[in-house]
Protein backbone atom coordinates (compact mmCIF):
# COMPACT_ATOMS: atom_id res chain seq x y z
CA UNK A 1 0.00 0.00 0.00
CA UNK A 2 2.81 2.38 0.91
CA UNK A 3 4.49 1.53 -2.39
CA UNK A 4 1.33 2.47 -4.28
CA UNK A 5 1.22 5.88 -2.61
CA UNK A 6 4.89 6.44 -3.38
CA UNK A 7 4.30 5.51 -7.01
CA UNK A 8 1.33 7.87 -7.31
CA UNK A 9 3.35 10.68 -5.72
CA UNK A 10 6.19 10.21 -8.21
CA UNK A 11 3.74 10.20 -11.12
CA UNK A 12 2.12 13.38 -9.91
CA UNK A 13 5.49 15.12 -9.73
CA UNK A 14 6.83 13.81 -13.05
CA UNK A 15 3.63 14.27 -15.05
CA UNK A 16 2.80 12.06 -18.04
CA UNK A 17 5.67 10.09 -19.43
CA UNK A 18 7.09 12.02 -22.39
CA UNK A 19 10.08 10.66 -24.21
CA UNK A 20 12.82 13.22 -24.60
CA UNK A 21 12.92 12.74 -28.34
CA UNK A 22 15.74 14.04 -30.50
CA UNK A 23 14.76 15.86 -33.72
CA UNK A 24 15.63 12.76 -35.73
CA UNK A 25 13.01 10.86 -33.78
CA UNK A 26 10.18 13.21 -34.72
CA UNK A 27 11.23 14.91 -37.98
CA UNK A 28 13.21 13.37 -40.81
CA UNK A 29 14.07 14.58 -44.32
CA UNK A 30 14.25 11.72 -46.82
CA UNK A 31 16.69 13.16 -49.36
CA UNK A 32 16.20 10.42 -51.94
CA UNK A 33 12.47 9.86 -51.80
CA UNK A 34 10.44 7.36 -53.81
CA UNK A 35 7.37 9.43 -54.61
CA UNK A 36 4.35 7.35 -55.56
CA UNK A 37 1.76 8.60 -58.00
CA UNK A 38 -0.71 8.27 -55.13
CA UNK A 39 1.46 10.68 -53.12
CA UNK A 40 1.32 13.24 -55.93
CA UNK A 41 -2.48 13.00 -55.85
CA UNK A 42 -2.52 13.93 -52.16
CA UNK A 43 -0.51 17.15 -52.43
CA UNK A 44 -1.91 20.59 -51.78
CA UNK A 45 -0.81 23.72 -53.57
CA UNK A 46 2.93 24.14 -54.00
CA UNK A 47 4.41 27.44 -52.85
CA UNK A 48 7.60 28.97 -54.28
CA UNK A 49 9.91 31.69 -53.00
CA UNK A 50 12.86 33.23 -54.84
CA UNK A 51 16.17 33.12 -53.01
CA UNK A 52 17.92 35.66 -55.20
CA UNK A 53 19.95 34.82 -58.27
CA UNK A 54 18.09 32.07 -60.10
CA UNK A 55 17.57 29.98 -57.00
CA UNK A 56 14.32 29.12 -55.31
CA UNK A 57 12.81 27.10 -52.50
CA UNK A 58 9.44 25.39 -52.75
CA UNK A 59 7.17 23.55 -50.36
CA UNK A 60 4.38 21.27 -51.51
CA UNK A 61 2.46 20.22 -48.39
CA UNK A 62 0.39 17.08 -48.28
CA UNK A 63 -3.24 17.64 -47.36
CA UNK A 64 -3.35 17.18 -43.62
CA UNK A 65 -6.22 14.68 -43.77
CA UNK A 66 -4.44 12.35 -46.16
CA UNK A 67 -0.74 12.43 -45.52
CA UNK A 68 1.07 9.36 -46.86
CA UNK A 69 2.16 6.94 -44.14
CA UNK A 70 5.19 4.67 -44.16
CA UNK A 71 6.62 2.74 -41.24
CA UNK A 72 4.87 4.88 -38.67
CA UNK A 73 5.96 8.18 -40.24
CA UNK A 74 3.62 10.65 -41.91
CA UNK A 75 4.70 12.83 -44.82
CA UNK A 76 4.37 16.55 -44.23
CA UNK A 77 5.64 18.03 -47.48
CA UNK A 78 7.89 17.72 -50.50
CA UNK A 79 10.60 20.36 -50.31
CA UNK A 80 12.76 21.46 -53.24
CA UNK A 81 15.72 23.82 -53.45
CA UNK A 82 16.68 24.42 -57.05
CA UNK A 83 17.85 26.66 -59.85
CA UNK A 84 15.47 27.97 -62.47
CA UNK A 85 16.03 27.29 -66.12
CA UNK A 86 18.85 24.79 -65.82
CA UNK A 87 18.71 21.03 -65.89
CA UNK A 88 20.44 20.58 -62.58
CA UNK A 89 18.99 18.32 -59.95
CA UNK A 90 16.99 19.93 -57.20
CA UNK A 91 17.93 19.25 -53.61
CA UNK A 92 15.41 18.46 -50.95
CA UNK A 93 13.13 15.54 -50.31
CA UNK A 94 10.10 14.48 -48.33
CA UNK A 95 9.84 15.74 -44.75
CA UNK A 96 8.35 13.07 -42.47
CA UNK A 97 7.13 13.33 -38.91
CA UNK A 98 6.13 11.05 -36.06
CA UNK A 99 3.92 13.83 -34.68
CA UNK A 100 1.46 14.64 -37.48
CA UNK A 101 -1.07 15.77 -34.90
CA UNK A 102 1.16 18.77 -34.25
CA UNK A 103 0.89 20.09 -37.81
CA UNK A 104 -1.96 21.71 -39.67
CA UNK A 105 -2.54 22.27 -43.38
CA UNK A 106 0.52 24.51 -43.57
CA UNK A 107 3.25 22.56 -41.78
CA UNK A 108 6.10 24.87 -42.86
CA UNK A 109 6.49 28.62 -43.08
CA UNK A 110 8.20 29.74 -46.28
CA UNK A 111 9.93 33.11 -46.19
CA UNK A 112 12.39 34.96 -48.39
CA UNK A 113 14.63 37.98 -48.42
CA UNK A 114 16.55 39.39 -51.39
CA UNK A 115 19.37 36.91 -50.81
CA UNK A 116 17.86 33.76 -49.31
CA UNK A 117 14.74 31.68 -48.85
CA UNK A 118 13.95 29.58 -45.84
CA UNK A 119 11.32 27.04 -44.79
CA UNK A 120 10.72 26.27 -41.13
CA UNK A 121 8.35 23.80 -39.50
CA UNK A 122 5.37 25.30 -37.69
CA UNK A 123 4.13 22.83 -35.08
CA UNK A 124 1.19 23.82 -32.89
CA UNK A 125 3.53 23.56 -29.91
CA UNK A 126 7.28 23.03 -29.65
CA UNK A 127 8.09 19.38 -30.29
CA UNK A 128 9.45 17.46 -27.33
CA UNK A 129 13.18 17.09 -27.75
CA UNK A 130 13.16 19.18 -30.92
CA UNK A 131 12.19 22.69 -29.89
CA UNK A 132 13.70 24.38 -32.96
CA UNK A 133 12.03 22.03 -35.39
CA UNK A 134 13.36 21.59 -38.91
CA UNK A 135 14.58 24.26 -41.28
CA UNK A 136 16.06 24.38 -44.76
CA UNK A 137 17.54 27.43 -46.40
CA UNK A 138 19.01 28.30 -49.79
CA UNK A 139 20.90 31.49 -50.60
CA UNK A 140 21.40 33.44 -53.80
CA UNK A 141 24.55 31.40 -54.58
CA UNK A 142 22.70 28.10 -54.38
CA UNK A 143 24.13 26.96 -51.05
CA UNK A 144 21.68 24.88 -49.04
CA UNK A 145 21.71 24.63 -45.25
CA UNK A 146 19.67 22.21 -43.13
CA UNK A 147 19.01 23.14 -39.50
CA UNK A 148 21.69 25.79 -39.88
CA UNK A 149 24.41 23.40 -41.05
CA UNK A 150 25.96 23.23 -44.52
CA UNK A 151 24.49 20.53 -46.72
CA UNK A 152 25.13 20.93 -50.45
CA UNK A 153 25.13 23.43 -53.28
CA UNK A 154 22.58 23.15 -56.06
CA UNK A 155 24.28 22.01 -59.25
CA UNK A 156 27.79 21.85 -57.89
CA UNK A 157 30.24 21.33 -55.03
CA UNK A 158 30.06 23.36 -51.87
Amino acid sequence: MRGLFIGLAISAVAGPAVAAAACGDVLRLDKAPAIKVEDVARLGAEEFKDAGGDYYLSVAPFRSAERPERDGWRALAIIKAGERGLSVEDLGGILWTKRPDQFGDKPLRLEATATKARATTMPRAPLAGCPKGFSIEIDSEGFVMIDGAKWKRVGGPW
Binding site: A34, V37, E38, V40, G82, S87, E89, G93
Partner: protein, 187 residues
Protein backbone atom coordinates in the same frame (compact mmCIF):
# COMPACT_ATOMS: atom_id res chain seq x y z
CA UNK B 1 28.47 -9.74 -129.96
CA UNK B 2 30.31 -6.45 -129.46
CA UNK B 3 27.52 -4.15 -130.69
CA UNK B 4 24.85 -5.33 -128.17
CA UNK B 5 27.37 -5.02 -125.36
CA UNK B 6 28.21 -1.45 -126.36
CA UNK B 7 24.53 -0.57 -126.55
CA UNK B 8 23.97 -2.00 -123.07
CA UNK B 9 26.91 0.00 -121.66
CA UNK B 10 25.52 3.17 -123.24
CA UNK B 11 22.13 2.63 -121.63
CA UNK B 12 23.71 2.00 -118.23
CA UNK B 13 25.88 5.12 -118.53
CA UNK B 14 22.87 7.29 -119.34
CA UNK B 15 20.91 5.90 -116.44
CA UNK B 16 23.80 6.52 -114.02
CA UNK B 17 24.25 10.15 -115.10
CA UNK B 18 20.67 11.12 -114.54
CA UNK B 19 20.44 13.25 -111.39
CA UNK B 20 18.33 11.68 -108.70
CA UNK B 21 15.09 13.56 -108.07
CA UNK B 22 15.26 12.95 -104.33
CA UNK B 23 18.93 13.19 -103.59
CA UNK B 24 20.01 16.32 -105.44
CA UNK B 25 23.36 16.78 -103.79
CA UNK B 26 26.16 19.27 -103.92
CA UNK B 27 26.69 20.55 -107.45
CA UNK B 28 23.51 19.05 -108.80
CA UNK B 29 21.50 21.47 -110.86
CA UNK B 30 18.50 22.94 -109.11
CA UNK B 31 15.29 21.47 -110.35
CA UNK B 32 11.80 22.82 -110.23
CA UNK B 33 9.65 20.84 -107.78
CA UNK B 34 7.92 18.04 -109.56
CA UNK B 35 4.35 17.15 -108.72
CA UNK B 36 4.35 13.92 -106.78
CA UNK B 37 1.67 11.33 -106.68
CA UNK B 38 2.09 10.90 -102.89
CA UNK B 39 4.03 12.73 -100.12
CA UNK B 40 4.37 9.55 -98.10
CA UNK B 41 2.30 6.75 -96.72
CA UNK B 42 -1.39 7.44 -96.48
CA UNK B 43 -2.73 8.00 -92.95
CA UNK B 44 -4.23 4.54 -92.97
CA UNK B 45 -0.79 3.05 -93.55
CA UNK B 46 0.83 4.85 -90.60
CA UNK B 47 1.36 2.87 -87.42
CA UNK B 48 -1.00 3.52 -84.54
CA UNK B 49 0.34 6.06 -82.04
CA UNK B 50 -1.33 4.30 -79.12
CA UNK B 51 1.09 1.42 -79.45
CA UNK B 52 3.95 3.78 -78.71
CA UNK B 53 2.68 4.56 -75.21
CA UNK B 54 2.41 2.60 -72.01
CA UNK B 55 1.31 3.27 -68.45
CA UNK B 56 3.34 2.00 -65.50
CA UNK B 57 1.47 1.99 -62.19
CA UNK B 58 4.19 0.98 -59.77
CA UNK B 59 7.13 3.16 -60.76
CA UNK B 60 7.85 5.79 -58.08
CA UNK B 61 9.24 9.20 -58.97
CA UNK B 62 12.54 10.59 -57.77
CA UNK B 63 12.69 14.15 -56.48
CA UNK B 64 14.13 15.18 -59.85
CA UNK B 65 11.27 13.50 -61.70
CA UNK B 66 8.82 15.32 -59.47
CA UNK B 67 10.61 18.62 -60.08
CA UNK B 68 10.04 18.23 -63.79
CA UNK B 69 6.28 17.89 -63.49
CA UNK B 70 4.08 20.77 -64.58
CA UNK B 71 1.16 21.84 -62.44
CA UNK B 72 -1.88 19.59 -62.54
CA UNK B 73 -4.69 19.98 -65.03
CA UNK B 74 -7.90 18.30 -64.03
CA UNK B 75 -11.39 17.50 -65.18
CA UNK B 76 -14.21 16.31 -62.93
CA UNK B 77 -17.60 14.69 -62.99
CA UNK B 78 -20.20 13.77 -60.39
CA UNK B 79 -20.94 10.08 -59.85
CA UNK B 80 -24.29 8.91 -58.52
CA UNK B 81 -25.21 12.49 -57.74
CA UNK B 82 -22.87 12.69 -54.75
CA UNK B 83 -19.27 11.68 -55.31
CA UNK B 84 -17.07 13.88 -57.47
CA UNK B 85 -14.51 12.00 -59.53
CA UNK B 86 -11.47 13.80 -60.88
CA UNK B 87 -8.96 12.84 -63.54
CA UNK B 88 -5.73 14.80 -63.29
CA UNK B 89 -2.67 15.03 -65.48
CA UNK B 90 0.78 16.48 -64.86
CA UNK B 91 3.08 16.55 -67.88
CA UNK B 92 6.82 16.18 -67.58
CA UNK B 93 8.98 19.00 -68.87
CA UNK B 94 9.36 18.69 -72.62
CA UNK B 95 13.15 18.87 -72.46
CA UNK B 96 13.82 17.42 -69.03
CA UNK B 97 11.98 14.22 -68.25
CA UNK B 98 12.80 10.75 -66.94
CA UNK B 99 13.87 8.14 -69.43
CA UNK B 100 14.17 4.41 -69.33
CA UNK B 101 16.06 3.13 -72.34
CA UNK B 102 14.00 3.95 -75.40
CA UNK B 103 11.10 5.12 -73.24
CA UNK B 104 10.61 8.73 -72.22
CA UNK B 105 8.42 9.90 -69.39
CA UNK B 106 5.48 11.89 -70.73
CA UNK B 107 3.47 12.62 -67.61
CA UNK B 108 1.60 11.37 -64.58
CA UNK B 109 -2.13 10.67 -64.63
CA UNK B 110 -4.34 9.82 -61.69
CA UNK B 111 -7.99 9.50 -60.78
CA UNK B 112 -9.57 9.92 -57.38
CA UNK B 113 -12.72 10.81 -55.52
CA UNK B 114 -13.12 13.97 -53.51
CA UNK B 115 -13.24 12.46 -50.02
CA UNK B 116 -10.18 12.85 -47.81
CA UNK B 117 -8.07 9.73 -48.11
CA UNK B 118 -10.04 8.53 -51.14
CA UNK B 119 -8.35 5.80 -53.18
CA UNK B 120 -6.14 6.88 -56.06
CA UNK B 121 -5.59 5.01 -59.31
CA UNK B 122 -3.03 6.12 -61.85
CA UNK B 123 0.48 5.80 -63.16
CA UNK B 124 3.33 7.24 -65.14
CA UNK B 125 2.84 7.43 -68.91
CA UNK B 126 5.83 6.60 -71.08
CA UNK B 127 6.29 6.94 -74.82
CA UNK B 128 8.79 5.68 -77.34
CA UNK B 129 9.58 7.06 -80.77
CA UNK B 130 7.01 9.82 -80.65
CA UNK B 131 7.31 13.55 -80.24
CA UNK B 132 4.70 15.04 -77.92
CA UNK B 133 5.83 18.62 -78.35
CA UNK B 134 6.38 21.47 -75.95
CA UNK B 135 2.66 22.17 -75.69
CA UNK B 136 2.14 18.77 -74.10
CA UNK B 137 -0.15 17.45 -76.81
CA UNK B 138 -2.86 16.50 -74.35
CA UNK B 139 -6.55 17.15 -73.82
CA UNK B 140 -8.69 16.53 -70.74
CA UNK B 141 -12.37 16.26 -71.50
CA UNK B 142 -15.72 15.33 -70.02
CA UNK B 143 -17.80 13.36 -72.52
CA UNK B 144 -21.08 11.71 -71.58
CA UNK B 145 -20.14 11.71 -67.87
CA UNK B 146 -16.84 9.99 -68.62
CA UNK B 147 -13.46 11.62 -68.21
CA UNK B 148 -10.79 11.38 -70.90
CA UNK B 149 -7.12 12.18 -71.20
CA UNK B 150 -6.01 12.12 -74.83
CA UNK B 151 -2.35 12.28 -75.81
CA UNK B 152 -1.67 13.07 -79.45
CA UNK B 153 1.87 13.10 -80.87
CA UNK B 154 3.01 16.03 -82.90
CA UNK B 155 2.83 14.65 -86.44
CA UNK B 156 4.76 17.59 -87.85
CA UNK B 157 7.87 15.84 -86.63
CA UNK B 158 8.73 13.03 -89.04
CA UNK B 159 9.91 10.49 -86.45
CA UNK B 160 6.55 10.81 -84.76
CA UNK B 161 4.50 9.99 -87.82
CA UNK B 162 1.71 7.79 -86.59
CA UNK B 163 -2.04 7.99 -86.52
CA UNK B 164 -4.49 8.39 -83.71
CA UNK B 165 -3.99 9.04 -80.02
CA UNK B 166 -3.41 7.33 -76.70
CA UNK B 167 -6.49 7.55 -74.51
CA UNK B 168 -6.94 7.18 -70.76
CA UNK B 169 -10.56 6.97 -69.62
CA UNK B 170 -12.30 7.09 -66.24
CA UNK B 171 -15.83 5.74 -66.57
CA UNK B 172 -18.84 6.44 -64.40
CA UNK B 173 -18.18 3.33 -62.30
CA UNK B 174 -14.78 4.71 -61.34
CA UNK B 175 -12.85 2.30 -63.53
CA UNK B 176 -9.68 3.69 -65.10
CA UNK B 177 -8.62 2.39 -68.50
CA UNK B 178 -5.41 3.05 -70.42
CA UNK B 179 -5.69 2.31 -74.12
CA UNK B 180 -8.75 0.19 -73.36
CA UNK B 181 -7.02 -1.89 -70.69
CA UNK B 182 -8.33 -1.69 -67.14
CA UNK B 183 -5.81 -0.10 -64.80
CA UNK B 184 -7.82 -0.11 -61.58
CA UNK B 185 -11.05 0.87 -59.87
CA UNK B 186 -11.89 3.64 -57.43
CA UNK B 187 -13.90 1.91 -54.70
Amino acid sequence: MVRPLLALLAVLALAGCKPSQNQGGMGAPAEAPQPQASAGPSPADLPECRRRFRMVTDRPLSLDDFSNLAAASSVSTVRMGTDRLTLSYRAFDYEDHPDDGAWNGVGVVYARGDQAGAPVVGGVIWASDVEIGSSGGYALELRADELYLTLTPNDADPPARCRGSYVVKLDTDGVLYADGVKVGTLQ
